[in-house]
Symmetry: C2
Subunit: 352 residues, 2 copies
Amino acid sequence: MNPQIRKFLPTLVRPESIARYEDGKVLIGDRRDYPFEYPWYECESVEDVAQAIEKMVTQGAGPRFAAGYGFALAARDASGMKADCALEHLEKVEQRLVATRRTNPSTARLLSRLMCVARSAAREGISLEQAILKEMDAYSNESLARAEKMARFGATLINDGDGILTMCFAEDPFLLCVAIAYHLEGKRIRVYTPETRPYLQGARLTAPSIREMSVPVTLITDGMPASLMSQGKIQKFMTGSDLVTLDGHVVNKVGTYQNAVNAYHHGIPYFPFSRKFDCNRPNRASIEMEERDPREVREFRGVASSLPEIDAYYPAFDITPPHLVSGVVTERGIISPYDLARFYGAESGDER
Amino acid sequence: MNPQIRKFLPTLVRPESIARYEDGKVLIGDRRDYPFEYPWYECESVEDVAQAIEKMVTQGAGPRFAAGYGFALAARDASGMKADCALEHLEKVEQRLVATRRTNPSTARLLSRLMCVARSAAREGISLEQAILKEMDAYSNESLARAEKMARFGATLINDGDGILTMCFAEDPFLLCVAIAYHLEGKRIRVYTPETRPYLQGARLTAPSIREMSVPVTLITDGMPASLMSQGKIQKFMTGSDLVTLDGHVVNKVGTYQNAVNAYHHGIPYFPFSRKFDCNRPNRASIEMEERDPREVREFRGVASSLPEIDAYYPAFDITPPHLVSGVVTERGIISPYDLARFYGAESGDER
């Protein structure tokens, strides 16, 4: 990654502040009270790591870094075992970590890559732990390089004067995209971030991260995007994605779909960013949707919003169909949602 | 109002629990921490009442009841004055109370009615305070009778098995409508209430009120309506309104417009309830939009959601144009948004 670009990275997307591996411990940046606090959450076992991911200690790209280091921890635990037992142990660990979050496939994909590395390390008789940590370093660098490519493509979509609506936390490709447009290309833009209830990723993570990059940002509630569109304040809708299927369905935090419908209604293009394509997820039917504890809907940072006996419902993600998608920002360019299979169909399971 | 219908009324829409007048004091049911607490907020002066309305101590129909009793308080204060001075005093009070909330015209309309009553009481030399209180009793009964009519018309729109999306707090006509459909007509329905950030009227007021009537209700966040529509869970969208202009534009809590766009996209009809038509608000250009303190967007029941230095924006209402409105539920039936002027155009300023 270009150092001039890297210096824009706000805290939450700097690899060194997402998660770390230290002598048999995994430290995860605990985002649950970000931006008010950002302590390290210490994990001494794979089970600790898995539960941390399930408890939303980290999110976005965080779970895959945490899971990768958790896998290194498992390799360290297995260091006294015979090679075949160690690999069998790691396969079980892989399953446990994959089960933490079902909708976003990138953790599964990284772990499958690390499992291959472990197998070849076992064949060569070298330390599994060291081989996995080395691969994690490579992965982290590749990930940033990909983010830079996507960010540069994304910036070409932005015009001087644009208001850009986002949703949830769109990760380094989007964050770098607006930083490049604003700081390097001199485009006067403003990012509008819906707070993204119930977990408030927009209010807690996105708005402070964009402000950290000194790009103009305005926080709104999740009920306001269409109102702003009708006032002419929004020219682009850009989000990250948890998954884009090969037939162009975008899975992202619940609320994305209705913003996409409203963008379409107002003639505003929608551009999701994605580096995640997967031959195992060819279409809508292949999406595994995560429902989370409805209690979260009745709370806000631990404060009740309604009575505990009121029913609530919390589908964590929604699906935006390809006819509402103007183009998917990938590291190969901005691709029609109807041509993803040709670009990415052959790369089964490869996130690079 | 039919007593069988009246018994459905949940706490927040029973006139006796919205606001009361007691010997020179106005007591307002303080909804700011409802449903966790519901204390009486005591006002000893008109200025207390005005500030209580501005501080959102009450909302929906609450401000007009509070303002009406505040007006009686002013009449009591003026009891030692000469008639023309007393009326001049009341005119100033009227202006102060009208200025509390600009978008919804119903407070202004009630006060104008009470001002007429005061003038004729002054001519007849009877107690202004007593005349105003008597008019408030009549107003309260008329208001319930109107609500019943609208509720019965609304119930005809609901089918067995319907999921009904609402937004914010839709007052007695909508609440009674779902109670009639469920309890008297035996239609198996479920109401979905978005929490309605930032003030959480959906979570705090609507969901508990619907549950109090023993009608099935599910709380969701403001980002979920379209996701539920795409899952086939929603068949009707029904809300209250702060104002419907004579050319069919619906002003309601921000978030209503984007739900209406999504309903339209999914082939779901939208029916706002309105008893508020006003010849002074013929069209979109005549709407006065209230913007509230953006700090509320960064908070949730007093708990911060983001950093204080982050810009925020809080348009309190939005506008849904008539082509997204399937019919306006009024006390005269369900009227096309394109025919309101013929039905209501002549009734300038009359809320009855």
